[in-house]
């Protein structure tokens, strides 16, 4: 796994999930917070659904259909911000 030092647990968990599931655990793949996941060809539509299922089950948040899009889920930073926002909005 290629997490940067000083990152949040959410960031690390997302990065670990993506590396294991979509990069076949390839440690040589330099996955950065701004690496384009969807437009870069790492996540396809099925991959996005798997990622959403993972986020919902791991962080106890719920996604709506309009939130599942390239502009919101294209980088780990985007995903992390989205999850943080949802956690903050939780009652």
């Amino acid at each position: 796994m290629n997490s940067n030092s000083g990152t949040s647990p959410i960031h690390d968990q997302i990065m670990q999930f993506i590396t294991e599931h979509f990069l076949q655990g390839d440690a040589s793949a330099t996955l950065l917070p701004m690496t384009p996941l969807v437009s870069g060809g790492i996540l396809d539509s099925l991959g996005v659904l798997e990622l959403v299922a993972f986020l919902e089950s791991t962080f106890g948040v719920e996604f709506e259909a309009h939130e599942v899009s390239r502009d919101r889920l294209d980088t780990i930073a985007d995903i992390e911000a989205l999850v943080h926002g949802k956690i903050r909005q939780r009652p």
Partner: protein, 837 residues
């Protein structure tokens, strides 16, 4: 500022490019402009505006970031006026602005949806109205701007957490260069906004230019495939033709992918770092992979609009059900929206069985493929090594896609099925060629071409910008130079022919006769293809008026007014007292004279050339220079005659002149002429004089109510028998006239499919009639040097001279001239040309 994603970073300041970097990019844009103007591979108005855009790019690059979007928006508005003119441009801008205003009315989202819907229905009624005075260009521009962008914009407004800047809306809806391209990538509004977040101008420019060049290469490949390699399904005569048709029908999509690359590449130069539109779609490893790679923007649009909402609604029933239902909905919507798009661009709905069949079968294949991928039972393909599994997957997937695509682009399901019946004509050599081709393609497909994921945005150094810029400049200028007449003169004839064809964007006979009716070709207006008026096997009113065509109530169907002195296409056009475009001859053949009657369609008549440039005139002069025997060549011709009329003319016109040799002339698209003349005879209730031919027409089912296309397809079913009988009839008729007979096969200037001659040649071979082979007489020569004009492939004076020389050589080669000419040709000219007019 907002919840994640788009809204939080729109004001990020990008790293600006240095003056040198900007200058290099501007130079490359100018080179793109030169190349596209030279090859005319983009809409002409767009190519001309590219130069303006080069200057606009420089201004944009030096502007402070906050002024860039207004500048781009203003430029987009200006481009609409430049492209469409003031009146049409104002109409487009007004309608677009009205819709934007409705989107922002202080009402609920649902109310605004209803109001927009009412507006769309109103426009649709106007589109259908026969009385509307709006030109097609206005509808094309409105369609490009509003069809899908309204949907994306409204969808964004529903969940937006901030107001839209007016320049954002204007720049999005009137986005440059929408006005020039009716088929425009469906750019998602949030993606459009987010694309401005890039942190580095040089990196964005570099990516944009590389995509523009890639797009130009796609368009050049498209031109080459369209003009040189395409075989229309109605013209496929054997297994190789069928395979060639299937391959080229799909590759014509390069026009769409090429234009999309150029469009998105250009948007990069104005700061929009948009995603890739296509990704190596010829290398898809499954049907769902193909869906993901081809027209990525459409796939994303469908994901957002249909797939995810449906999936979320059904996922409680399990992911497999959710994915299955969502994918089916995507394909039903895609089919409906393609028809919707067709309506806005063409003014009518697209409802055809081949269209329904294509989307239904493709949808089922993608659903199955998606569910299979979800099970992930198969190991992941290596992204670094050659893989036999990838090789087989790519070959299998693409083979099915190509077959499906050929169905989608076929004129009708019946035509498509008939094409497949032609695969019964296959030699062992043909099968061998196909096997070798398949093995090579499969082997190449096994490599992981471009499969490595993009892990980060590249940081681009000044050195890279300069080097890449110089390399691209060299490539662009080199391609433009390669097709200039001077350079074409230096290189081998075969290569010069292909490169010369790249420059030619006028109408070729083939554009019409081998027309592809595919979805995308239909949607790109003729003006975009650079095509002009089409000729589909008829003479046209201009000829009828100028030459004084008069109807005949026999199978010749018509004749030219005798003893006329007129002008046609700016050239002297004279006929003798028999109505031949020829000198005056006595019916009684002079003693010791060898007479050749050359009977044929327009190119034999001398369409568009002067009286002293026609094939018969030049052939007579040529043969007379080589012989002591008096030689006369009679020109008995009428535009659009099929060979059946020519054979009938042996008895009806030629026989009384006692010819020693009759030359019948085959046209590259003989079947079109056969169908047109049979239909004309049927409609005018003129009997076909040969009973066997009449029986074939009955068997084919052509009647007076048939359409030209229907007649062509029906005659196609008896084509082999027809040509064989025509040849047999020619033997009988010429024997009755005490003459020998031969067939002159001519490949006219421009791209001709030699395969279209095959049925005629097979008929000649079966009956033992010699064929004078002039199929390649214009090969290797620039179109403009041997054709009448950019849009008329009839031979000009030089072309007729080359044809005469070829005919003379072939006559000698076949021993068809008098004995003294078949041996060593004596010098001198004993021919008296005094009778020539």
């Amino acid at each position: 500022m907002r919840t994640g994603g788009v809204e939080s970073r729109v004001d990020a300041i990008p790293q600006k490019a240095s003056p040198l970097q900007v200058a290099i990019v501007a130079l490359q844009l100018a080179a793109v402009c030169w190349l596209t103007n030279t090859l005319r591979i983009l809409p002409p108005t767009f190519s001309r505006t590219l130069l303006v855009m080069s200057v606009a790019f420089v201004v944009h690059a030096i502007l402070p970031h906050r002024h860039r979007l207004p500048f781009f928006g203003g430029l987009s508005l200006l481009a609409i006026v430049l492209s469409l003119g003031v009146d049409a441009g104002a109409a487009v801008l007004s309608v677009g602005a009205a819709f934007i205003a409705v989107c922002h009315l202080p009402a609920s989202w649902r109310t605004r949806i209803v109001l927009v819907g009412v507006g769309v229905v109103g426009l649709a009624l106007l589109r259908l109205s026969a009385t509307t005075s709006l030109p097609a260009t206005v509808w094309a521009a409105l369609a490009a701007m509003l069809m899908f962008r309204l949907i994306s914009y409204l969808q964004w407004l529903r969940h937006a957490t901030r107001a839209t800047d007016r320049w954002e809306a204007l720049a999005y809806f009137f986005m440059l260069p929408s006005a020039y391209f009716p088929l425009f990538p469906v750019i998602d509004f949030p993606t459009f906004l987010k694309s401005r977040e890039s942190s580095s101008d040089p990196e964005v420019y570099e990516r944009g230019l590389s995509w523009m060049v890639r797009g130009l290469l796609h368009l050049i490949a498209y031109r080459l495939i369209h003009d040189v390699f395409t075989v229309g399904e109605v013209w496929a005569n054997d297994l190789l033709d069928v395979v060639q048709h299937i391959g080229t029908a799909f590759l014509l999509y390069l026009k769409v992918s090429g234009q999309f690359h150029v469009i998105v590449g250009l948007l990069h130069l104005f700061g929009f770092r948009l995603p890739e539109t296509h990704h190596l779609y010829l290398l898809a490893t499954s049907f769902s992979d193909f869906w993901r790679r081809i027209n990525i923007y459409w796939k994303d649009f469908m994901l957002k609009l249909v797939y995810y909402p449906v999936y979320f609604r059904f996922r409680h029933m399990g992911p497999t059900v959710g994915i299955g239902v969502a994918t089916i909905c995507v394909f039903v919507t895609t089919w409906a929206l393609h028809s919707y798009q067709y309506f806005w661009l063409q003014g009518q709905l697209l409802l055809s069985w081949s269209d329904v069949a294509f989307w239904a079968v493709f949808g089922v294949l993608v659903v199955a493929s998606g569910i299979r991928e979800r099970s992930r039972s198969a190991p992941t393909l290596s992204r670094t090594r050659w893989s036999p599994r990838r090789a087989l997957q790519v070959t299998g997937t693409m083979a099915v896609i190509l077959v499906l695509w050929s169905l989608w682009t076929s004129e009708s399901t019946g035509t498509w099925l008939y094409m497949w019946s032609m695969t019964r004509f296959a030699s062992k050599g043909d099968v061998g060629v196909l096997v070798i081709l398949l093995v090579l393609l499969t082997a190449a497909a096994g490599f992981p071409w471009g499969d490595q994921p993009a892990m980060s945005q590249r940081s681009v150094s000044k050195r890279v910008v300069v080097l890449a810029g110089v390399a691209r400049l060299a490539l662009l200028c080199g391609m433009a130079l390669l097709t200039t007449p001077t350079v074409l003169g230096w290189i081998p004839a075969g290569a010069a022919k292909i490169l010369g064809d790249l420059r030619f964007d006028g109408l070729t006979k083939r554009d019409e006769f081998v027309r592809m009716v595919g979805y995308y070709n239909e949607l790109i207006p003729k003006r975009m293809l650079g095509a002009a008026v089409v000729d589909s096997g008829s003479r046209g009113p201009a000829f009828d008026t100028a030459a004084g065509w008069v109807p005949r109530e026999d199978f010749l169907l018509g004749a030219i007014r005798p003893s006329s002195r007129t002008s046609f296409l700016g050239q002297a056009f004279s006929t003798n007292r028999y109505g031949f475009r020829d000198a005056e001859y006595e019916i009684q053949k002079p003693e010791g004279t060898f007479r050749i009657a050359i009977i044929g369609p327009s190119y034999v008549m001398g369409w568009g050339v002067a009286d002293n440039e026609t094939l018969d005139y030049q052939l007579e002069s040529l043969l007379s220079d080589l012989s002591r025997t008096r030689i006369e060549v009679l020109n008995i011709s009428l535009p659009a005659w099929s060979m059946a009329q020519e054979v009938f003319a042996i008895k009806a016109l030629a026989a009384r002149f006692s010819p020693d040799l009759v030359l019948l002339s085959a046209h590259p698209y003989e079947l079109v002429f056969v169908a047109e003349r049979v239909l004309e005879a049927k409609r005018r209730a003129i009997p076909i004089p040969d009973l066997a031919l009449a029986a074939l027409v009955e068997q084919a089912g052509v009647n007076s109510a048939s359409t030209p296309l229907d007649a062509r397809l029906r005659m196609r079913t008896v084509e082999e028998e027809w040509h064989e009988r025509v040849m047999q009839w020619a033997l009988e008729s010429s024997a009755a006239a005490d003459a020998r007979v031969a067939v002159l096969a001519v490949g006219l200037p421009g791209p001709n499919a030699e395969s279209t001659f095959r049925p005629v040649l097979r008929g000649a071979a079966r009956t033992g009639i010699p064929v004078l082979d002039c199929l390649r007489v214009f090969r290797g020569l620039a179109f403009a040097s041997v054709a009448l004009s950019d849009t008329d492939g009839h031979p000009n004076g030089r072309g007729q001279a080359l044809l005469a020389a070829c005919t003379a050589a072939e006559l000698r080669g076949h021993g068809l001239l008098p004995e003294q000419l078949s041996g060593t040709a004596p010098s001198g000219n004993a021919h008296n040309t005094a009778t020539r007019q």
